[in-house]
Point group: C2
Chain length 448, copies 2
Amino acid sequence: MKIIIIGGVAAGAKTAAKTKRSLPEAEVHIYTKDNYVSYSACGMPYYIAGDFQDWKQLIIRTKEEFEKSGINIHTRKLVTKIMPSEKRILIEDVDTKEVEYQEYDKLVISTGAEPIIPEYANGLKGVYPLRTLDDGIRLKQGMLKANHITIIGGGYIAVELVEGFIKNNKKVTLVERSQFVLSMLDEDISALVQDYILEHSNGLVKIINNDIVNNISETDNTVTVSTEKGQEFTTDMVVVAAGVRPCIDIAAEAGIKLGKTGAIKVNSRMETNIKDIYACGDCVEKVNMISNTPVWIPLGSTANKEGRVCAINVSGGVEDFEGIMGSAVLRFMDLNISRTGLTEKDALKLGYDTVSVIITKRDRAGYMPEVKNITLKLVADRRSHKILGAQAIGCGDADKRVNTVSIGLLRGITVEELIDVDLTYAPPFSTSIDILISAAQILKSKIS
Amino acid sequence: MKIIIIGGVAAGAKTAAKTKRSLPEAEVHIYTKDNYVSYSACGMPYYIAGDFQDWKQLIIRTKEEFEKSGINIHTRKLVTKIMPSEKRILIEDVDTKEVEYQEYDKLVISTGAEPIIPEYANGLKGVYPLRTLDDGIRLKQGMLKANHITIIGGGYIAVELVEGFIKNNKKVTLVERSQFVLSMLDEDISALVQDYILEHSNGLVKIINNDIVNNISETDNTVTVSTEKGQEFTTDMVVVAAGVRPCIDIAAEAGIKLGKTGAIKVNSRMETNIKDIYACGDCVEKVNMISNTPVWIPLGSTANKEGRVCAINVSGGVEDFEGIMGSAVLRFMDLNISRTGLTEKDALKLGYDTVSVIITKRDRAGYMPEVKNITLKLVADRRSHKILGAQAIGCGDADKRVNTVSIGLLRGITVEELIDVDLTYAPPFSTSIDILISAAQILKSKIS
């Protein structure tokens, strides 16, 4: 049995490791155009910030460790073609350009996603994407020499990078097409996040909203950025964090079906439409378990879970990956920002009759010296009373409340049931009636 | 409409406040033998520790604030008798011993619980209980003068007090009848807690296990403690934290039904067996929602919820309190200790065929400087695959994982479903596969 895995960052590395454990006699290969396998891409903003110094800490399992456990790692090898009828792939060596064919019994596509780089930015040396570990190392080197950095985009990674840059005392201009950063949150929450960023960055950060960068030009030393609304400014470097797209080209060419979102369509066993070809990780479409609709939200936690499920099925077992709930968390300095389920705007788009509440309350007893505030938004469906989602931000323990909701979403918990949950209480951990329960109580009175 | 509430710490205060808001024309009275109403008893260990200096911070709502909103507060008034057939109560003034009758339309019993003081300790000035705010103030004054303090009992409050005492550089001897402190946890967890206490108290703490204090004698300056197994030592003061019992005497005398646990039996609307008499808070029995068995676990969070439900029903509305899940949390220095649902020993007693896992894992990505370990125990029912409970300890964010499980318990979540939960992930908040998911994955393989 020969199993070939294309891509080896999160889902691919997980699939390889678990498959080899389940089928010790199988031949397991990872082919990647990258220099590294099995690393924490999510950790790069903290390496850049200087929270730790050695990028090697981001590597979860080295090539040597994989090879010691009998997994063959082929780095700098680009898979250019999948030939399902012959059950083989075409591989090009990134350096020598030599090509070779390899046959497989089972193939796993975990090619991940790639940053969307606008055409005007192509090939400019002052422009930095952040996707691979090499990108992270290069970005950090660039940052250390820069005084002013421009970030295109205002999503999770952009906000994490702002933290890293201001910790290094860099000036930052962030250009975000939406009204506020973090447009994947409802505006009543993302407005608060943006305020917090501006108030807690020592004047180093400027945010341009409702505008798009439409040109970048560079000389030897400076980069000039222009926006659609006519702003123009010079900067030392530009980080492009304006979204990613799934790497699906070779899959699509081979006749592997894509979903509505443009990512690879798989069933709950991570099988594509072609026999013996599986896919997992950032290149595949997922199901939102609350709305039961296809979504494409590439996240490291999901990739790892999919890799596990993929490995079990590749190895002859049976396991299902049920989908995602839109759970996410990030940090900006002392502020925790997290969400699960549907935002109110998502829910409205999907046709729900939403009812929501947004409240601010202490995260623990008011007399505890560590007390901080949390702002929580809870969204429910007026008809079924089911909780649809939660968003929380705060310097207090916001993430705890959101995770608590996430498990309730799995079983369609109602507002009334949420009131009944017995949450842990002691003064260092919560108020005697936790903000989550308070919010549910208010929602209940709004519904009835 | 005249509503009388007996006792006003948590449940009683909550009932009074919410009832008055719902029925502004009603006459609402709280009678208490205590000097204060509406305070956070759970916060006293932190006041004693010196985490904050003014005990008045523990008062949630002052007598004056209650009276401003039209609620009548009668402190130092002991209710000695309930006469349901006449719908009145007998009240004795604690100072003057004068008695009076008061009639009610609806009566709420929220008399709380009282510490169990062994007979040999009665009336000794070196013996300190910790239940009322006055107890807390007196205990702190005593502690400040003491060098060596003995604690009888090793439950939540005892462990919280150990933290407070060693922060004040006091020597502590704790006598606990069980093998380890925190006997409400499984021994594989409580053993770790006890080790942690001993290792993180600068040699100030000695714990005597499997033994019981059976005598205390005192002179002017010292107190001598003797144990059943023949130990004898002198100490400066003794804190009795060996359990509490529900204050049910006047209720029982009046014919109000008690439950199996000896606490007042109420239905989900907080109604006793006698018309127009309600009860809530630490004096009532609760239902464990997982096992559907009666339990008596007096906790501030539960008391507050019961007070809310009681107020709604007293005011003519309809609301149910469904029960508890045994959720609790406490802190010892940097260690967080929390539980929800059934422990394995509880579950075995109830006849479940349990399967459990105990694992230690990082609470966030290993390269984050703040990373700490958590040890998590997950207990499930082998037959139904349902999760029965979780216990977690660690200097990392243990409590988050336990709260996440608590909401799953409400809906009888299975091991397989827990694997599917989409928990928030970012390097400062969790590992890409959270310890909770890892534990569920191991449990699944143990079951199948």
